[in-house]
Amino acid sequence: MGFFGTTATSPPPPKISSDGAPIAPDRTQRAKCWEGRDAYFRCLDKSGIIDSIGQKDKAEKECAGEARGFEANCASSWVTYFKKRRVMEHQKAQTLEKLRTEGAQMMPGQVAPGGPGQKP
């Protein structure tokens, strides 16, 4: 429907390596994917949408063109990951802002010594 049309909804299938497994996106493919993501998120920012999965219809109406560009350059797992991450980072920023207004002070350095095996 958008500028890119409906045909390019996912990146071209990855090259298959000599031992039969799909080769991961290389540096240029990653950069292209990130560009598509940034363009899409800029559009979401303009429309005031944070959660493009929860507000799917609105996001589709406002940013259809950018969404196609995003999906055309990134694997679908990456698209979902970046969309969820956007929500997570927004929540994180909000929590920090809330704490700051409550008078909390930023502690320098790490909160706790990071142990191995800790999830990101």
Partner: protein
């Protein structure tokens, strides 16, 4: 008696005066019984100094010494350099002890052991075990090639660290390892393609699902890769994002997280590598 003594005394003193200029000490000794006021000639009659004579060669030397007190430029310089030397040494020792404490803290009894024996395959298809890590420090990173954003960033950081630490030492310093958490998609050929974009020195390791799960467990890495995924399936893998620094005996030293810049990380690693003297 007394009358006859007086003239002889004045006579003797005039005699002694004439002698004084020749051999005063001798004369004093001889006359001590008679003249109680006889003293050894004072070296400087005007000085009231109580200290004994110092070996000054000239008056000028003595004067300059008196002006500056017990200090001189040479003494001051010596004081400052030795002081600065001590401060530098103590700082170095303090940093070294701190690193040692971190390294030892992970070795003690009752501590969770990170690392251990494993058998995997490198990107050339050769078998690679924990024994191949021995003899030098290793920087271990877990990830997967289909990782959207964090792994590539971290691997770029790793490349900078390798360059900074191994810059002069060549191959001796640090062995960088990339262990995949996604063995289904990360075959040796895929890893080879993937890692050559970051640094030629990184050894990429993969294996069967069981082998990878085992090594992740030993390194306390969160492992969520589903078993038996179909070919061409698109999924992501959760994993820890720490660099594990392992010493030449395969013991865990320190974890380096995302909060460290490559320069900071290289400094930490370089410090540990420099401390190693073999045990």
């Amino acid at each position: 008696m007394s009358k006859s003594f007086i003239p002889s005394r004045s006579l003797l003193s005039s005699f002694s005066r004439s002698l004084k200029y020749d051999k005063p000490m001798q004369q004093c000794l001889r006359l001590r019984s008679i003249n109680a006021s006889c003293r050894a000639p004072a070296p400087a009659p005007k000085s009231f100094s109580t200290s004994s004579a110092r070996p000054y060669k000239t008056v000028e030397e003595q004067r300059s010494r008196y002006k500056s007190g017990p200090f001189s430029y040479r003494a001051g310089l010596l004081f400052l350099t030795s002081g600065a030397g001590l401060i530098i040494y103590f700082r170095y020792e303090k940093a070294r002890m701190e690193r040692l404490r971190i390294a030892e803290a992970t070795k003690g009894v009752g501590r969770p052991k990170v690392g251990g024996p494993f058998e995997l395959v490198d990107q050339e298809g050769r078998v690679f075990t924990d024994a191949d890590m021995r003899g030098r420090y290793a920087l271990v990173y877990f990830g997967f090639s289909h990782c959207p954003d964090i792994c590539p960033e971290e691997l770029d950081k790793m490349a900078v660290m390798i360059e900074l630490v191994n810059g002069e030492g060549g191959k001796k310093g640090l062995l960088p390892l990339f262990i995949t958490c996604d063995p289904a998609r990360d075959t040796p050929a895929v890893l080879k393609e993937y890692l050559k974009e970051f640094h030629s020195g990184i050894v990429g390791l993969t294996g069967s699902w069981e082998q990878v799960k085992d090594v992740c467990k030993k390194y306390r890495v969160y492992f969520s890769t589903p078993q038996g995924v179909k070919k061409g399936e698109d999924y992501l893998v959760d994993h820890s994002i720490y660099f594990y620094l392992m010493d030449p005996e395969g013991d865990f030293v320190e974890a380096i997280g995302r909060q460290h810049s490559p320069e900071q990380a290289a400094k930490i690693i370089g410090g540990h590598v420099g401390d190693w003297r073999g045990k």
